[in-house]
Amino acid sequence: MKKPLVGAMLLLSSICQAGNVEVWVFDNNNKPVVNVAVHLNNQNIVSLPVVQDMPIMDQIKKQFSPHILVVQKNTQIRFPNSDLIKHHVYSFSPAKVFQLKLYKGLNADPLLFSKTGVVELGCNVHDSMLGYIYVVDTPYFGKTDANGRFSIEVPDADYQVRLWHPQIQDGMDSLLKTLAVNGRSNISFTLQQTLLPSSVLYEQDTEEFGDYE
């Protein structure tokens, strides 16, 4: 597929609030929770297309960008380094154990993420750098926006809707809901437990264009 098209579509859908499924996430104070990874799983969908192009986990101003990256299993992720300084990215998460020494100008090969799960990223040089790659086993995933809303176009079917966010303390079982999509559907999650404090210095936008909000 054409990257820009999909991107535009996604963009449109997000701006125009396109998509037939809406997932809302609220915290225990009924405040919208942003950047929550949402994915819908349906076993019946067999050949799951690899949706996107090679996503990027960049380091910009000594921060992982994006803070949370959700990818489909078997996606290759590229790790550029937009900072002028060296970063030594690593992860010891069972989903992917790797380390990359990233310099400006040293283009590392993209890495294939073939296991589902949370990959916690750190930089050996900078303790404050923290990022997540959430590998899911479905093409239908995304993150909630500033309003705590995530919408997506999915064929009608029964799906398992799951949430993940590093700050969510609620148990994984409570974050799984089933949803029968039929045309326009929505589901909302209200967290029970208080969100863990953010360890990131500032609120991360979903997109690079978050500045326009």
């Binding site: 992860s91 303790d127 923290l130 360890s199």
Partner: protein, 784 residues
């Protein structure tokens, strides 16, 4: 003297010293006690603070170790390679172990443990799994944490491992620990200067670690250690330790304690040294004070004792000019007072002297001085001839009575002026009595004593002119010469006095001493004691003087007269010893002897065919002796005496002393039939009334009237009258001292009964009397 005053509580010096000593002791004791007590408390407080500081230091030190451990651990768990090794710990334990050992060494820890995120032990120092139950999260938190493994205690720190630092997720744990024993070492000892120990109180105490040597630790574990605040003490092998404890940490509800200990000597080192210095200082102060006290007390007592010496000298009559050097005002005052007193004494001494040795009226030396002067003069040159004259004013009493005592005094002074005018320096003049003067010619040389006396006497030939009166003064002077008349001043004065009295009696202007004048010499007194002996030794003999019965021309009686043949003095006349015997009472023995001897002789004569009456003299003393009549009676019995043939002669004055007793005695004798006659009649002092009372038979006319009877018309008149008187009173008469026939004729003419005297016979001893009597009888026979 010093032996007596040393240690004498009354000595001023000793008292002062004692007081000072006591004061010093009290002050020192109090000071010492106070300072010592204060210093001890201070030292103890210092010690307490030091231990507290040390405790803080130790705790701080251990806390630091803990913090260091924590920091090190914190860094350790951030290490990428460690994270890597921990991540692969399950698979590659060996690498993890070796890396951890390396890290442990770097940190100077003794143990480590690595846990996975679900508390599974990945690696550890302990090979055996004793540590199964350790939950690393429990050891989180600031502060010290403790773990006990295998009876070893470890201070531990734990750190969570986050693979990504800023992540919330804890991926594992690393624990590291330091052995408790390693927390306490030489460093701590050097820091605190105290022995540091960690212990858990129990029975016995569990010592986790200590700087002590093992033998002390053995003791320590047995001790009942106090965990309360403050200082405590325990003993080990005779050495005392002071210790303090504080909580270090808690392990399983039981506290771990730090114990800091220091030997007592060391703890109180400064205190002891201070005390020692203090005692030394006080001792020095004490010595100095005592020394000062000595000086001070001596400064007072020395002048005082000096003044005592001065006073003693003054007492002895030495006049002191040198007084102790001035010291204190009070001593000076005393010194001045004593000096003035001395002056006063001197003055009074001179006054007394003057009074003692001078006559106030005439200012002449007095009798004392006269005597002294004389003694001094005699003590001098032995070859000198010293003439002593005693002069007295005739009838001075009359003059005083006539002109009055005041004028009498003036007379005396004028007399003195004349005397001094005469002799001046040539002689020593003194007023030795009321109207008596003594003169001493120290070196009379060739001057005749009589000449000297005459020349002095002539001084008073010119009458005195006093207040318009013309007064004639006559003096009597007695002279004695050294060494002829006496050898002592007393002797000379006595001799001069005797000479003086003699010229009074004879109305001579002066008289020079002759031994005969002396009725009162010692010689005479000696005689008395010899007299008594003489009685026993038969030195006394009775002489008999016959009394001629004038009409009948027979010797009717004899008078017994005592004669003494002194082995040394030869013949001693009765006048020389009888009066004195009467005065001393020896006469009684004499009279007794006389009576006995006389009556015995009378018996002899009777046995020879001659009845001769005996007349013996008795004195007043004999009369008053009530034993006399009894004695006479006894004698009369013994010698078979006819009372009629015994006559006792008493003088007129015999009765006078005690008329009543005398008369009683006379009457008793009279009643015995004995005749009594009055001796020396006419020369005594009896009154006619008395004469009337006396039971006498006979009157003896004193020889004073009889001796010159032949020539003296006055005597004739006297004798005639006396005979007449006696006759009229019915008394017979005896005339004593018939010296010639004419007297005898006169007596015969005028009716005198008996005659006695040299004309008839002088007193004769028995043999001679017998001869005379025989001759008398013959003559009488032939004349008839």
């Amino acid at each position: 003297m010093s032996k007596r005053t040393l240690g004498n509580i009354n000595s001023l010096k000793n008292r002062m010293m004692l007081i000072f000593l006591l004061l010093i002791i009290v002050i020192l004791a109090v000071t010492l006690q106070i300072v010592q007590s204060a210093t001890y408390n201070h030292s103890t407080e210092q010690l307490l603070r030091h231990t507290q500081t040390s405790m803080s230091v130790v705790k701080d030190n251990i806390r630091n170790r803990s913090n260091i451990l924590e920091n090190a651990l914190g860094n350790l768990v951030k290490d990428f390679s460690i994270k890597q090794l921990i991540a692969g710990g399950a698979d590659d334990q060996a690498s993890l172990i070796s890396a951890m050992e390396n890290q442990q060494n770097r940190i100077n820890a003794d143990i480590y443990m690595v846990f996975s995120e679900n508390n599974t032990l990945l690696a550890s120092t302990f090979i055996d799994n004793d540590v199964a139950a350790v939950v690393p999260a429990n050891f989180q938190g600031t502060g010290k944490h403790w773990i006990e493994i295998d009876q070893q205690f470890y201070m531990v720190k734990v750190s969570p491992v986050r693979f990504v630092e800023t992540s919330q997720k804890i991926n594992g744990w690393v624990l590291m620990g330091i052995k408790a024993a390693n927390l306490v070492g030489q460093e701590l000892y050097d820091l605190t200067d105290m022995q540091v120990s960690l212990f858990k109180p129990s029975k016995p105490n569990l010592i986790l670690g200590s700087t002590f040597s093992t033998d002390v630790l053995d003791e320590l574990s047995l001790q009942d250690l106090s965990v309360y605040a403050g200082l405590h003490m325990f003993k080990h092998k005779g050495m005392d330790y002071i210790y303090t404890t504080d909580v270090l940490g808690v392990l399983q509800d039981l506290s771990l304690y730090i114990l800091l200990a220091i030997p007592v000597e060391k703890a109180y080192l400064s205190y002891n040294s201070l005390l020692f210095q203090l005692v030394g200082l006080l001792a020095v102060a004490a010595f100095i004070t005592l020394f000062a006290a000595m000086i001070l007390s001596r400064g007072i007592t020395f002048p005082v004792s000096q003044l005592v010496k001065v006073a003693k000298k003054i007492r002895l009559g030495e006049y002191v000019t040198k007084f102790p050097s001035p010291s204190t005002n009070e001593i000076d005052e005393l010194s001045v007072a004593i000096s003035e007193m001395q002056e006063g004494i001197k003055t009074r001494q001179e006054e007394i002297n003057h009074l003692a040795y001078f006559d106030t009226l005439t200012t002449l030396p007095n009798r004392n001085q006269f005597s002294l002067h004389l003694s001094k003069t005699l003590a001098g040159d032995d070859n000198k001839k010293v003439t002593v004259l005693m002069m007295d004013i005739d009838r001075f009493k009359e003059i005083n009575d006539t002109v009055g005592h005041d004028v009498g005094d003036i007379v005396l002074t004028l007399i003195v002026d004349r005397l001094l005018g005469y002799g001046g320096n040539k002689a020593f003049y003194a007023r030795t009595g009321g109207d008596e003067f003594g003169i001493v010619f120290d070196d009379s040389g060739e001057h005749d004593p009589a000449e000297l006396a005459a020349s002095i006497h002539s001084v008073f030939e010119l009458p005195f002119n006093i207040e318009g009166m013309v007064l004639d003064i006559h003096t009597s002077i007695g002279v004695a010469v050294y060494p002829i008349d006496a050898q002592t001043s007393q002797g000379l004065m006595q001799c001069a006095d005797i000479a003086l009295y003699s010229c009074k009696g004879k109305h001579h202007p002066y008289a020079v001493y002759k031994p005969e004048l002396n009725k009162h010499s010692m010689q005479r007194l000696n005689l008395m004691s010899e007299l008594k002996e003489a009685l026993n030794l038969g030195q006394l003999e009775l002489y008999y003087q016959p009394k001629l019965h004038i009409k009948d021309k027979v010797i009717s009686s004899v008078e017994c007269l005592i004669r003494w043949n002194h082995p040394v003095h030869g013949f001693v006349p009765p006048d020389n010893f009888i009066p004195l015997a009467e005065q001393t009472g020896v006469i009684r023995d004499v009279t007794h002897w006389v009576l006995k001897e006389a009556l015995r002789q009378q018996q002899q004569w009777r046995l020879g065919g001659h009845d001769i009456a005996i007349a013996a003299n008795i004195s007043a003393v004999d009369l008053i002796d009530m034993k006399l009549p009894a004695y006479v009676a006894q004698l009369m019995t013994e010698f078979d005496v006819d009372a009629k043939l015994l006559t006792l002669e008493v003088t007129e004055s015999t009765v006078m002393g005690d008329p009543e007793s005398a008369l009683k005695a006379l009457n008793t004798l009279r009643d015995m039939g004995i005749s009594l006659s009055i001796d020396d009649f006419g020369t005594g002092f009896s009154s006619m009334a008395q004469l009337k009372k006396m039971p006498v038979d006979e009157l003896k006319i004193d020889m004073a009237f009889v001796l010159g009877l032949a020539k003296n018309p006055d005597d004739k008149v006297m004798v005639k009258t006396l005979i007449s008187l006696a006759n009229n009173l019915g008394l017979t008469t005896v005339a004593e001292g018939v010296e010639d026939e004419a007297s005898l004729d006169f007596l015969s003419l005028h009716g005198c009964t008996k005659a006695q005297g040299y004309f008839i016979s002088k007193p004769l001893p028995v043999p001679k009397f017998n001869l005379w009597y025989a001759n008398f009888l013959n003559t009488k026979q032939t004349s008839i």
